[in-house]
């Protein structure tokens, strides 16, 4: 019953959409009339909708009943039937314990609808448009991963695509530019076999196993042991990973020619000539290099990858060297690889290429790389400089990223035995980049008639000669895209149209990516504008007329048909311009011009300064006040900001967010009123200013608080916590810096935590605790606190017992004492009554008494205490 109703509703909705002539008011993402949408960016047969509460509740009940084709809404049923809906499911499935919160957020109202993929998405979306209760609908766009493949460590492989973001030292573009090749040409084919003459490749590695030839009569071979048993070696495995680690398998790294679909690309043949030496780890066991190279030629390989070289003691010796016997093996490979015994082409390329690492001695020579028929590969660091170790010279044919350990994350990241991955550096790592690019070229262009000379021509002449200094002497930088596009004769298709709008003296262009017969799609667009329409006719794009303004718009990762936008700047204000766009490919073949569009540039708007300033800013001496200003040019012009502080208290800082922060530090200026000022001028002379008036208030020094009670303790290890703000405070409310001390030491232990003073008694006696509070201006206030640690049952205190002037007598608390003092001759010299308290002892002036020994008797209540003192 419900299904039937839904079907009827969907059909009715389709009918209604067919009659409408206006765009609905609903917030549905659909193109306007006359606007075109590139549906290649959409996933066919899918859309996302948001339902009203009522419709969501109905649909939920229908789904719970087992079917969505008959809902309680006739219009829904009709539309779903009309678009051939095959499923409706919640975009956010039931979340269990989180479901209540999901519902509160309205996530339960979002559904994904799957329908007939043959139906244009825009049409399907429009059909949904008018159903009551559907609040929003949109087609499902394709989502492209920020990484081209899903290999998790691809982001570390700057040597493939260097965005200049891995570290501050990495420079954008210092890579082999392989991403456009993956997008537009190929990711490698399995009929291209690369012979890796090196340490054994880990044939069981998760990122290599599927592309490696197993050991055997027509596969990999161990030339160290003379067997087919390949023993994994870190160097050889690393090299192989750069060439052919499997792409898009969700594991480890990507390889330059590692395929597209997780199944692998080019094939790796391991010709093992190095093997770990258990008796001498510093010196590998080696095999027959000559035979290993020839083995590749005889068993299908067309690329011989060699990251090794001859060892010389000194550069002078190497300069006298040569390829030696290796020459015969190299010549053989170049001549016979890819052919049968009769010289007929059997592989994707007739003849082979032998690619050698230039060497890591930092010398001007390296063998066998310097043998002319070989492609010698030098190494660059991540910033377009020659790697510190790389050999160099005009014999080096091409450069590639070999990395440098002097840069964080600056080495080459690839496979290591036992399913591991890691960084290594050297021309050994640069060399497989060239082998990998060569493998891509063969994969795309290979086939009957494709020869090794054609490969070398494309590989070397397509390399980028503009980015490395000639002083590096390691040739041009390997450019996979350049090599692929090298020799392209066909320009991209002419853009059919472009749109242009003006703001200030900028023109914003948009156009769609056009196709290219031999390069898949255009590499970029020239955005052109001139006051004279005639100047846009018959253009020589390599030498544009002086009255034609231009900008380039690289297509980048945009797909064919996608809309790309770019801006042309530096024009005059309020001026009429004629505009057009031209597509070009990587080989600088230019298309025709799009139809000319006329536009008038705008006025120059002065820069804008915004802040929350609301009048005079008052800052106390200890305070820091921040005022952030947003300074920008509405036209997007660059601005020059001049800050006049007014006093030393004001400083200006440009924040990473782009805001300008004026900081007022009260401590850095005398009290008074000042003005800080921003003067902002854009690159075309329009300016704005703002004045911030501020006042540094008078500083008030800290003061002792009142007359606090002294402290009396009756024993040791007793504690008391004091808030020092209760003793020394600042009239300005400043957080003071407190310093504490006691004298004499050893009676109390003081521990300061922020404003809290923790006091612990250590021994009996009277101590003075000094609390000093200092404000930001260095003004101080000192408060002294007497601390008495005394056993209430102890004898009266008579001190000092070696008297200079006054004799102090107390008994801990407020008391009346009977004091008598007699001389050594027993003459009674003092006999009287005194009063004292804990911190005010009775004082007897003995300054006029003769030096000598005196007996002192103190009667305190029931206690009588007798002692001897001396006057000195």
């Amino acid at each position: 019953m419900n299904n039937r109703l839904l079907t009827a509703a969907v059909l009715a909705a389709v009918t209604v959409w067919g009659c409408k002539t206006e765009q609905a008011d609903l917030p549905v993402e659909v193109p306007a009339e006359g606007e075109t949408v590139n549906e290649t960016s959409l996933i066919p047969g899918q859309m996302i909708i948001q339902l009203s509460d009522e419709l969501a509740g109905q649909l939920e009940e229908d789904l719970a009943g087992g079917s969505f084709l008959q809902t309680k809404s006739a219009s829904v049923n009709s539309v779903f039937a009309g678009i051939g809906a095959t499923s409706v499911e919640r975009l956010y499935p039931d979340a269990g314990e989180w479901e209540p919160r999901h519902r509160e957020a309205g996530l339960h109202k979002w559904y994904k609808v799957t329908f007939d993929p043959a139906l244009p998405q825009t049409k399907a979306v429009r059909s949904i448009n008018d159903i009551p209760g559907i609040e929003y609908a949109e087609p499902v766009r394709r989502i492209k991963s920020t990484a081209f493949f899903d290999d998790p460590d691809l982001s570390k492989q700057w040597h493939y695509t260097n965005e200049g973001t891995l570290t501050a030292k990495h420079k954008k573009g210092c890579d082999i530019n392989v991403l456009p090749v993956w997008e537009n040409y190929t990711c490698g084919k399995s009929d291209v076999i690369v012979s890796v003459v090196d340490g054994g490749v880990d044939l069981t590695h998760e990122d290599l196993a599927a592309v490696c030839l197993p050991g055997g009569a027509n596969g990999s071979r161990n030339f160290v042991t003379g067997s087919f048993g390949i023993v994994a070696h870190s160097h050889g495995t690393h090299v192989a990973g750069t060439i052919g680690a499997i792409n898009n398998n969700g594991k480890g790294v990507a390889g330059i020619a590692g395929g597209r679909d997780g199944q692998g690309g080019v094939t790796i043949m391991s010709c093992q000539v190095f093997q770990d030496n258990p008796d001498d780890p510093d010196h590998d066991l080696t095999g027959n290099f000559y035979d290993a190279m020839v083995w590749g030629a005889d068993h299908g390989a067309v690329i011989s990858q060699n990251s090794w070289g001859d060892v010389y003691e000194k550069e002078e010796d190497a300069l006298k060297g040569g390829p030696g016997a290796m020459k015969s093996a190299i010549d053989y490979f170049i001549r016979y690889a890819g052919t049968d015994k009769n010289g007929n082409q059997t592989g994707p390329m007739k003849g082979g290429v032998v690619i050698f690492a230039a060497g890591n001695s930092g010398w001007s020579i390296g063998w066998p790389a310097a043998y002319a028929p070989v492609i010698a590969v030098g190494s660059v660091a991540p910033d377009f400089t020659r790697a510190y170790y790389s050999n160099y010279g005009d014999w080096v044919d091409i450069a590639a990223p070999g990395g440098s350990a002097y840069y964080d994350k600056g080495q080459v990241y690839s496979t290591l035995p036992d399913n591991k991955y890691g960084w290594m550096q050297g021309t050994s790592m640069a060399c497989p980049h060239v082998s990998g690019v060569a493998a891509l070229i063969i994969s795309h262009y290979g086939g009957p008639g494709f020869t090794n000379d054609m490969l070398v021509d494309r590989l070397l002449n397509g390399a980028n000669s503009n980015v490395l200094s000639s002083a590096t002497q390691i040739g041009p930088l390997c450019d996979a895209y350049g090599s692929m596009a090298y020799g392209s004769k066909e320009p991209p298709a002419t853009p059919k149209s472009h749109t242009v709008s003006a703001h200030s003296n900028f023109l914003d262009f948009s156009t769609q990516v056009t196709s290219d017969p031999d390069d898949n799609k255009a590499y970029g667009f020239l955005l052109l504008a001139s006051r004279n329409e005639a100047s846009l006719k018959n253009l020589d794009y390599f030498h544009l007329p002086s009255d034609v303004f231009s900008a380039t718009l690289p297509v980048g990762e945009a797909d064919l048909g996608d809309t790309v936008t770019g801006t042309l700047s530096g024009l005059d204000f309020q001026t009429e311009y004629y505009t057009t766009v031209v597509a070009y490919d990587y080989s600088k073949n230019y298309s025709g011009t799009s139809p000319v569009v006329k536009v008038i540039t705008g006025t120059n708007t002065p820069p804008v300064i915004k802040s929350e300033y609301a009048g005079l800013i008052q800052v106390k001496a200890h305070e820091v006040y921040n005022l952030e200003s947003e300074i920008y040019d509405p036209d997007g012009h660059t601005v020059t900001v001049k800050f006049t502080p007014g006093s030393d208290a004001a400083q200006n800082l440009l924040l990473p967010s782009g805001l300008y922060r004026m900081t007022l530090a009260g401590k850095d200026a005398d009290a008074g009123r000042y003005e800080a000022r921003y003067d902002v001028t854009d690159s075309f002379g329009a300016s704005s200013s703002v004045v911030y008036e501020y006042q540094i208030l008078e500083n008030h020094p800290p003061v002792p608080v009142g007359n606090p009670d002294d402290l009396v303790f009756t024993g040791m290890a007793q504690k008391k916590t004091l808030n020092m703000e209760d003793y020394v405070s600042d009239p300005d409310g400043e957080q003071l810096k407190y310093e504490i001390s006691s004298s004499p030491s050893g009676i109390v232990h003081l521990n300061q935590v922020d404003n809290t003073l923790n006091l612990t008694t250590l021994s009996m006696g009277l101590a003075k605790v000094i609390i000093t509070g200092t404000d930001i201006k260095g003004e101080k206030a000192v408060l002294e606190l007497n601390v008495l640690v005394r056993d209430p049952n102890s004898d009266p205190d008579v001190y000092p017992t070696q008297v200079n002037d006054y004799l102090n007598i107390s008994d801990g608390t407020e008391k009346t004492l009977q004091i008598s003092i007699s001389s050594a001759s027993a003459a009674m010299l003092y006999n009287g009554t005194v009063t004292c308290d804990a911190f005010s002892p009775a004082r007897i002036d003995m300054s006029g008494w003769a030096p000598g020994r005196y007996g002192v008797t103190v009667v305190s209540g029931e206690k009588t205490f007798k002692t001897t003192v001396v006057k000195i």
């Binding site: 102090n808 001897t868 001396v870 000195i872």
Partner: protein
């Protein structure tokens, strides 16, 4: 003559009563009698001076004693010795030694913090000689050295001299002179304090009756130059020359020597004597006990 003497006594008495503070007198221990017999008869030190004794008939007199001095005041254990030797009918010598050892005191500084202890000591050494000018007149002089050790680093010393003239008339003897003329000591603040110099006047009378009974009575007045007066009066009763009972009184008026009542007992046999004294007075000197022994002929 009597009138003149009375005027002098009154003058000196007035000067003594117009006294300076007795506390300003240094080395007061130097006026403590060092002989038990003298102590127990009111401390008539001038009456027992070497010049007076030269006018008597004793040939040799040596004594040693121990005092528990002023146990309730500036207490000390005093060890004393003295000797008198008649070299001829005209010349006699005397010597005296005293060492007062006080209990140790705890050292507290001006903040009341304890810092150790110390036992102070006072010492007196006195040497004297007398010459008989005529059968009834003699003069004598003593030189004394005083030292007071108060702390481990502070001790004071001073020198003094006594000059006494004596005369005898029948059973009576009179003496006058000055005592403790000498140096002063300087306190830590530089203030100088003099030793207890004084003018002294003493008289003594001996009478025997009923063959076995004897009485010695004496009196003394000291006028301290810095102020203060002390007067002493003492009587000794002897039975058969074997046992003795003594009583005395010392009056100190703003004096470095205290007021007290002294009681004493003694015994003598074959020249060997044993003496004891007990003082009653203020809390500063009360309960002082002295015991001594001597030999004389």
């Amino acid at each position: 003559m009597r009138k003149t003497l009375a005027i002098v006594i009154l003058f000196l008495a007035a000067a003594g009563l117009h006294a300076q503070d007795a506390a300003s007198v240094a080395m007061p221990f130097s006026i403590v009698p060092r002989n038990v017999r003298t102590l127990s008869t009111g401390g008539l030190t001038t009456a027992d001076a070497v010049a007076v004794r030269l006018l008597g008939d004793t040939g040799l007199d040596v004594n040693a004693s121990w005092y528990s001095w002023a146990p309730q005041g500036a207490s000390s254990n005093n060890i004393n010795a003295d000797a008198f030797v008649r070299l001829s009918n005209r010349l006699a010598l005397s010597a005296q030694f005293g060492m007062d050892i006080a209990p140790r005191y705890d050292i507290y500084d001006a903040q009341g913090t304890k810092g150790g202890f110390y036992s102070p000591k006072d010492m007196l050494v006195k040497l004297g000689a007398a010459y008989r000018i005529t059968p009834v007149i003699s003069v004598g002089a003593d030189l004394r050295y005083m030292n007071s050790s108060l702390t481990s680093k502070v001790s004071y010393s001073a020198f003094g001299a006594d000059v006494i003239a004596a005369a005898t008339f029948g059973g009576a003897k009179v003496a006058a002179g000055v005592t403790n003329l000498g140096t002063s000591v300087k306190a830590s603040d530089g203030t100088a304090f003099g030793i207890p110099a004084a003018a002294t006047l003493a008289g003594k009378y001996n009478v025997s009756f009923a063959e076995k009974h004897s009485v010695d009575a004496g009196a003394q007045v000291d006028f301290f130059f810095k102020g203060g007066l002390r007067a002493g009066l003492g009587v000794e009763y002897g039975f058969n020359g074997l046992v003795f009972a003594r009583v005395g009184y010392s009056l100190g008026l703003n004096s470095p020597f205290p007021t007290y009542l002294s009681l004493g007992l003694g015994a003598k046999f074959s020249g060997i004597s044993i003496n004891a004294a007990y003082l009653v007075g203020s809390s500063a000197i009360g309960n002082t006990l002295a015991i001594g022994a001597g030999y004389s002929f």
